[in-house]
């Protein structure tokens, strides 16, 4: 299936992840990052994928039995004194399925989930040299948050 076939995004279902999807989720992540992190994904599934909490969301985009992408996020309360807000910390769409609106559908769905959980702001963190992710989140209407991420080497 190509991204042209996926242009009709009505054929796409966005739903909570299930255990049976994990193999495909791990493969999509491995294709993007070059690292196969099976244990990490099983742990994420247990923390975010059970569907028991409104605060934690792990959604997948499925078309005809194939997982085409996923998004993960959670509501964080009073982090560094900030009022509760939704955090998106992972999103990935299969390379062959990109630019067909799936990323947008996943993002819209997690935002709907955050609203349902009672928050009105969504945040994410993107490496400043990751132009693809920055362009994507900008296209969704995100602007710089009033926070600055800082770090230092502990050497």
């Amino acid at each position: 299936m190509t991204s042209a076939d996926l242009k009709d995004t009505t054929a796409i279902v966005i739903r909570p992840v299930e255990a049976a999807d994990l193999g495909q989720v791990i493969a999509i992540d491995a294709e993007s990052t070059g690292i196969q992190k099976t244990d990490y994904w099983y742990e994420l599934f247990h923390r975010f994928g059970t569907g028991h909490s409104r605060q934690r969301l792990f959604l997948v985009a499925e078309s005809e039995g194939t997982i085409q992408g996923f998004i993960i996020g959670e509501v964080r309360d009073w982090e560094f004194g900030s009022p509760s807000c939704g955090w998106v910390f992972a999103i990935d769409v299969r390379p062959g399925a990109r630019l067909a609106g799936l990323g947008t559908k996943l993002f819209d769905s997690i935002c709907a989930g955050f609203r349902h959980a009672g928050v009105d702001t969504v945040r994410t963190q993107v490496s400043r040299d990751n132009n693809l992710m920055l362009s994507f989140v900008r296209s969704q209407g995100m602007m710089a948050a009033p926070v600055i991420t800082l770090e230092m080497s502990l050497d």
Binding site: R128, N131, L134, S139, G141
Partner: protein
């Protein structure tokens, strides 16, 4: 100044795809010198972002890809990317430390302008227009 004019103009043309817009229209809307603006539009046309329209009224039409053209692409047509610090020879530790802070700012600036496309900007303009903000009113004038 040329850079701001280029950004305003690019957004005006992109917001009116297909419709020729004249330099006089934009100059009147933003209250800027027609002479200065005409030079900027000629530069944008030379870079392939505008097509000139012949015939009655004349003007230019947007020729770029609003989904991929970023604010940085437009800015870089008019400004060199600035290297902070003393350009010639070795830097001392004060210059190096200051250059590190300045490059932090430059990196953020570049990442911001380089990830905002003209289409994303048009959505933002629309949002301000709907909210009736003073910025939007200025843009509409």
């Amino acid at each position: 100044m040329a850079t701001s004019l280029a950004l305003y103009s690019t957004l005006e043309f992109a917001a009116n795809p297909g419709r020729p817009v004249t330099a006089a229209e934009i100059a009147a809307k933003y209250g800027v010198s027609l002479h200065h603006l005409s030079k900027v539009l000629a530069d944008l046309a030379r870079a392939g972002l505008l097509d000139s329209v012949r015939g009655v009224g004349g003007g230019y039409r947007f020729a770029g890809n609003p989904k991929r053209l970023t604010l940085l692409d437009v800015i870089e047509l008019f400004e060199q990317t600035v290297e902070s610090g003393n350009g010639n020879g070795e830097r001392n530790e004060v210059e190096t430390a200051l250059a590190q802070v300045l490059s932090e700012i430059d990196e953020i600036t570049k990442a911001t302008f380089g990830s905002i496309t003209i289409e994303t900007m048009l959505k933002l303009v629309e949002k301000h227009r709907n909210a009736g903000s003073p910025v939007a009113e200025k843009m509409q004038r």
